[in-house]
Assembly symmetry: C2
Homo-oligomer: 408 residues x 2
Amino acid sequence: MKVTDQFTVMPEGTITTPAGFRAGGLHCGLKKTTRYDLGIIVCDVPAQAAGVYTLNAFQAAPLGVTQASIAVDGKLQAVLVNSGNANACTGKQGEEDARAMRTAAAKAFGVAEHHVGVTSTGVIGELLPMPKVLSGIEELPSQVKADGAEDFCQAILTTDLVQKMTCVRLTVGGKTVHVAGAAKGSGMIHPNMATMLGFITTDANIANVHLQKLLNGVTDTTFNMITVDGDTSTNDMVVAMASGLAGNESLTPEHPDWAAFEAGFRYVAEYLAKAIARDGEGATKLIEVTVAGAESQEAARAIAKTVIGSSLVKSACFGADANWGRIIAAVGRAGQPVNTETVHIQLGDIVVLEQSRPVKFDEDRALAYLKGELVQILVNLNMGNESATAWGCDLTYDYVRINAAYRT
Amino acid sequence: MKVTDQFTVMPEGTITTPAGFRAGGLHCGLKKTTRYDLGIIVCDVPAQAAGVYTLNAFQAAPLGVTQASIAVDGKLQAVLVNSGNANACTGKQGEEDARAMRTAAAKAFGVAEHHVGVTSTGVIGELLPMPKVLSGIEELPSQVKADGAEDFCQAILTTDLVQKMTCVRLTVGGKTVHVAGAAKGSGMIHPNMATMLGFITTDANIANVHLQKLLNGVTDTTFNMITVDGDTSTNDMVVAMASGLAGNESLTPEHPDWAAFEAGFRYVAEYLAKAIARDGEGATKLIEVTVAGAESQEAARAIAKTVIGSSLVKSACFGADANWGRIIAAVGRAGQPVNTETVHIQLGDIVVLEQSRPVKFDEDRALAYLKGELVQILVNLNMGNESATAWGCDLTYDYVRINAAYRT
């Protein structure tokens, strides 16, 4: 992730730093503890909106409601989230409940129904306890504030160990613009799956059609390039909202500052994606796999994802084992063209394979490198000019412990 | 796996039970312990031969040598195997070494070079210590005997916990025919991957073209439907040899007893495949996933393999957690057509999902069932008439321990 002079990272920035956004959270009773389980991001004005949604055939009810809202006029003014219950595989009642949440939030905040998005994460196959949810929504407006980002983040977390949030500042046509993001993911929802939810806010003035295209492109190379265990949730969703309150002239791909905006937006998405991978269940380290020298983007991405998803590679990283045989085997089974004579592999700056042949390397140095918190694996196919990067984490005893636990 | 009246399982049968086969093993010094690491199956006559090979782009050297041997006249009289070194990613020297092993075995046993197959399993990327291997091969003839199957099996094992061998008897045109098999797999080759090697012997009289077709078809629904961790080795191979010494009239698909022969052959392959899955690294149980009611074989197989390969499903089985949400999520991400309203899921005979909606079930009974050594998961899509079964094992602390170990 390159931080360029196109934008500045704001260490104290949050999703409410972009002009127009407030947020909040509270405990309505979905989690057994007193931790927050209901949250909202609200904008002073209807914001240009874009969304990307899970490809899992069993899409949870809230995703359809959010899609329907954005479809009306491409705007959202509020995004509601609950944790503790995914409202997935809940049939018609689940759809009604998601719509009822939207209606209640619209009423509580005085915004149009079709300007409200709904997201959920948690247990699959259980109906929401709607009385708790609805009274929580009624109480939400009193909890929403300009510095409510932390509360919102608590409401989206489950077993995530750290909050995931970042913010950048850049200049568009002389005006200061902010892009910020928050995410949850990879923490196990007791008892179900690791849902990824992403929320991106910006005060840039940008039409939703451009925002959607930008979000699609950026998602392909960030959120879609992480894996904790290869399981795709029914609830994965990323929503972006642009308030336009920075007052810049409208951003289009032709605008001279588009590249800076895209770079800042990409930084936010990549930061969140890597934070999710690093906080993977039971993970002790972030693994970054870059495949270079591929004949096509498709091949580079497929191979990077196969390597990052290999249980054998993940276990070897946990054990700090410089086991390049597992890496090349994963490269070979990705179903993409490879030249079996030209593969180059290195761990950090330690070359272990050249022209597909093992290279003597310093095992102690490799061990020291692999024991670190970031392992960067480079695979150069030496066949073309395309490259791609994927992120994941090691496979540990704790992953098994977390995921073998009884639901009860 | 149905045992029909078409064949009889012989509990004491081995790969040398079919007429004409002998086998043996010895320690030549590839393994650090004194366990056998070199073995051979020899036939009294050139046997009709067939083989299936890994789809990994990085195919180890011995696979090419075996393919080249069979290509000459479709026959093999001996199959040599070594463990402790995979002879993979070893370049031109590796190819020369594999050919030298073939030459040495042909000389030692007095058979034609092109009637010798070579298989290897073990460390990737290290050259074979050829002096040890060649003197081992010279010594092999004195170790080969009619009851040498156990010795052969020891020579192919690595960290496999149990030997995997079976034999059936059936009648073809009034003659008694045997089909037997041995396999290794899923035990970790220190330090590399879980190679699967399968050896099938029969005394049936059958032309290699029919044997190859039978092996291809049976492999698709047996060896190709197991997964321990989704990693495909560079060395996977299954070889079948038919001595013809049962004296039956030549078997073709048109023969009235073809169905019985196919059933027996399939039993042997499925037995070995399930034994490999059950003996998966760190496994405490066998998991069997059947997908029924699919629109196509392709869809049924893809979904069954996605479910069996899900780390979340595998962890849940280890934890005896009746977590059907993970199962349906895996069904939904398999990239195959599913009707999200009609899915039925059961664990053993405990129905947990009907018409895609959760069913109240007895949690204690489910816990007791999942604690067993065999977990059968049935997913009925209720869309068509195709079905497929896949086998795997649970994901445990021991899997991580075994695979995180330093190579040193």
